[in-house]
Symmetry: C2
Subunit: 387 residues, 2 copies
């Protein structure tokens, strides 16, 4: 398979963007990515578009041609991928396979979500479509309760992760303060987190990611032509893995080792020929703080059960040995669901280019993105190398 590189990135500011249409978000982020790559629009051969649930939240499906029309991309082929909160990474991976297969040379990949205009109960219903509606959501098991069960089971098996969960929230907010695109640029304390409004025990409101509007795009090219067509430093995709698991939480073999993450990571590390200790920094899917801890373990950055210790020792802080969610993560940068996986790649490419400003990781060489869908029923892991 041909090697693939990222040659352009663009994203909107994330947040409550009540005055922005889907079209406006798509246009801003898409134009930014194309301009960043410095390619002519006529060179783009396909558009892979991620969106989670505009069909329910905005009554709008068929996001491919909507984006293509607003970006003036003519009659190129488009499609939408959806895999709950992993939708963005799925679009990226399919686009990568499209180039790897020889079908395309240059493709655009985007993600978008617009959620904040709906009422809280409607947003909850929309997000719950990522769970099993018959066996979970309709019985009241929406995502905070599902991940609360995971946190409680983790406490039972490995000891209470409360203090480390709190530290994840505090660190992600510290990083978000340094990211101009982040939704919540606000320092929080351990006391804020633990005294936060209770959502589903043990999760407080500060353990939960945000409801966010936003869009993110990247331009991909076959590595053999990347530097000819773009002035930007090409960031190579050296590994990619994609795995699944049962839809329902009740059917999983383990609640504290997420099989989808373990299997996707195994595939990505093998393809890249690297180990967890080779990773300079990672964006991991912190839909809830407990998920960030599981991810740190399942990706091999800490032994199983030792994630909390790694977090509390500062290993995952911006200055630690494996900085996690330098962008602020879903917790502070925000979680515009369809855009999230693409925005993770935006951050890693920014770091590998050395363009991350105040949040720049020193000697950033290899970066990893980890994107989960639902109760870890879908996972995509990608590994990138700067040149």
């Amino acid at each position: 398979m041909r090697s693939v590189s990222v040659i352009g990135i663009g994203e909107t500011k994330f947040g409550k963007l009540a005055d922005r249409s889907l079209r406006s978000l798509l246009q801003e982020a898409g134009e930014k990515a194309i301009a960043d790559a410095g390619v002519e629009k006529t060179m783009i051969q396909a558009l892979y578009m991620a969106n989670f649930n505009a069909q329910y939240l905005c009554y709008q499906g068929h996001m491919g041609p909507l984006a293509s029309e607003v970006l003036g991309l003519g009659t190129i082929p488009t499609l939408r991928t959806e895999g709950a909160c992993a939708s963005g990474s799925l679009a990226f991976r399919q686009a990568m396979i499209g180039i790897a297969s020889g079908m395309y040379d240059v493709v655009l990949v985007g993600g978008v979500e617009k959620m904040t205009h709906r009422k809280t109960e409607e947003i909850t219903t929309g997000i719950a479509s990522a769970a099993d509606v018959e066996f979970e959501a309709n019985l009241g098991a929406t995502f905070p309760s599902l991940f609360a069960m995971i946190a409680n089971r983790y406490a039972y098996e490995y000891g209470n992760p409360r203090e480390a969960m709190t530290m994840c929230a505090v660190q992600n907010h510290e990083n978000g303060l340094l990211n101009p695109d982040a939704q919540m640029r606000k320092k929080i304390t351990a006391k804020d987190v633990e005294a936060g409004f209770p959502i589903a025990y043990p999760l407080t409101v500060y353990d939960c990611s945000l409801v966010t509007d936003g869009a993110a795009f990247v331009v991909l090219a076959a590595s053999d032509i990347a530097e000819k067509i773009s002035k930007k430093r090409a960031i190579e995709v050296i590994g990619s893995g994609h795995a699944g698991d049962t839809m329902t939480l009740a059917s999983k073999k383990s609640l504290t080792t997420l099989a989808a993450t373990v299997n996707a990571a195994k595939e990505a590390y093998a393809m890249a020929g690297v180990k967890p200790t080779d990773i300079s920094m990672a964006e991991v899917h912190d839909c809830f703080t407990i998920t960030q801890i599981l991810n740190i373990e399942d990706l091999g950055f800490a032994e199983k059960g030792k994630g909390p210790k790694a977090v509390l020792e500062g290993k995952t802080a911006l200055t630690g040995s494996i900085p996690i969610n330098t962008s602020g993560g879903l917790k502070a940068k925000g979680h515009p669901i369809g855009a999230t996986g693409i925005s993770q790649i935006y951050e890693i490419v920014t770091q590998l280019r050395g363009d991350a400003g105040e949040r720049q990781v020193k000697n950033a060489k290899i970066g990893l993105t980890h994107n989960l869908g639902g109760s870890a029923a879908t996972c995509v892991v990608n590994i990138f190398r700067g040149r």
Copy 2:
């Protein structure tokens, strides 16, 4: 790129299946396809799942792991593709590229839709998400009105296609009578069609495809291993094309030559190295009878403006030179949106295997599927050859 073949097919009966859950539809069609291929479930490496709008109609997204869990496929990677009514063909094409790239050897591809349990106005809103909601649907331009404008424009440019539109409906119903899976197994007359309840002039209710529940699956394998792993005759995918066009009808260069169809067909014919006259039979996207006429022309089965003549001369009938929609098409077999593109492939594979019974096309050697999304904003064309 590696050659890819279809080694298994399965579908539910199409219709108003009020007592069936999404899970039940997925299970029946998926198990049938896997059994038909005769492969062990452990050989299936990925699931590409198409669904148009269960997120609005059933509150259920994340169809990949839902299907994977119900079929007992373990932790394989899954994703959902959506491109309005072309969702099924998009899943098929991405799966094909996945094998062609060398990433996978054996994959399952499915499509499902459950619509009939909702009220008519809700179904209309759900389907309208395939159009531009801001600029079309919210202004009252839902699909029957959009395709009525196409029909009126066609009449202006090439003469009134009424008689041929009627013949398309009558022929598709005749074919549907011979398909045990069809929703509407009922003979209709020209008088029925033209005196039908008016929907949007000139379209009557008999010019419109059906609202349908159903699921369809196929198993794909790399052609070089297909006959080793399956006892069934492998049907090779010799060509595939995918193109887009503007989302809005108003922005299209032509309403009577659908650019997405023309470009997807061009790509598919070139890849297959065949001409329209080499095609034994085709399943084309008859969301409305006028669309069937445009498709016949845009796929090269008749000259532009001569589609009506070809239909009226019987060329597209079951016994004609290029039988169209031998399954009954979206008009009589039904249109369970996410499943439609896969079901078209089900029909072509059935014909190429010689298993189509009363509706068998004689000397069926090469078959074509044509699947549109929205107002022809997405199109996928596939070409298959029996061995």
